[in-house]
Symmetry: C2
Subunit: 117 residues, 2 copies
């Protein structure tokens, strides 16, 4: 989706499984590592770390280590990261409207033979 528009071969992880969800989680303000693990049910710390690192590298988020006893780390969207909310909204609108149609077509294709009876 994104690579189609650019002429780079670089794997932008924007289309990955977790990047958009993380952006949504950060939409309301900075969140800590553990505050991301909870709403992103199913993500493992390894994958969360990897994804956050690549997003930080791409200047989509910032990583801040605060002083404190078990030093908390917060992640926050950058201005660049916030611009992604616009195309994401367009994609979400598409999915909300057309995804059921697509999935119905898929089921009809897969399973006229394997349909429930």
């Amino acid at each position: 989706m994104f690579t189609a528009c650019s002429h780079t071969a670089s794997p932008l992880r924007l289309g990955g499984k977790w990047t958009p969800k993380i952006i949504r989680c950060l939409e309301g303000g900075p969140r800590r590592f553990s505050e991301l693990e909870v709403p992103l049910r199913g993500i493992t710390p390894k994958v969360l770390t990897e994804t956050l690192r690549s997003m930080e590298r791409d200047a989509l988020i910032t990583r801040t280590v605060h002083v404190g006893a078990p030093a908390p780390v917060t992640y926050a969207l950058t201005a660049l990261g916030r611009t992604l909310l616009v195309p994401m909204a367009a994609c979400c609108a598409w999915a909300a409207e057309h995804l059921p149609t697509l999935l119905d077509a898929r089921d009809a294709h897969e399973g006229p033979a394997a349909a429930p009876r």
Copy 2:
């Protein structure tokens, strides 16, 4: 990007490497297999076939076998497939505006040590 908006775990190939490009190629009307291979420079027949099949299954395109000597096959966007052009345009606009910024940030991260001299 799309899966983030839905609640399915199904791998929609909308975010794949080729699906958006194929949609763009079909935007101007039906195209034949070999007419897709050319502009999509680098795709192998295997991958093109796989991608077209999955798009057909998802009702994004239709596959039509015509009568003729070496029977030509044409692929065309469905109405559902055309709706994808809207979010794709939003993503392309984002990339056109912000991708250079992102890539600059990436370079700055990777290579202050590996910078050219």
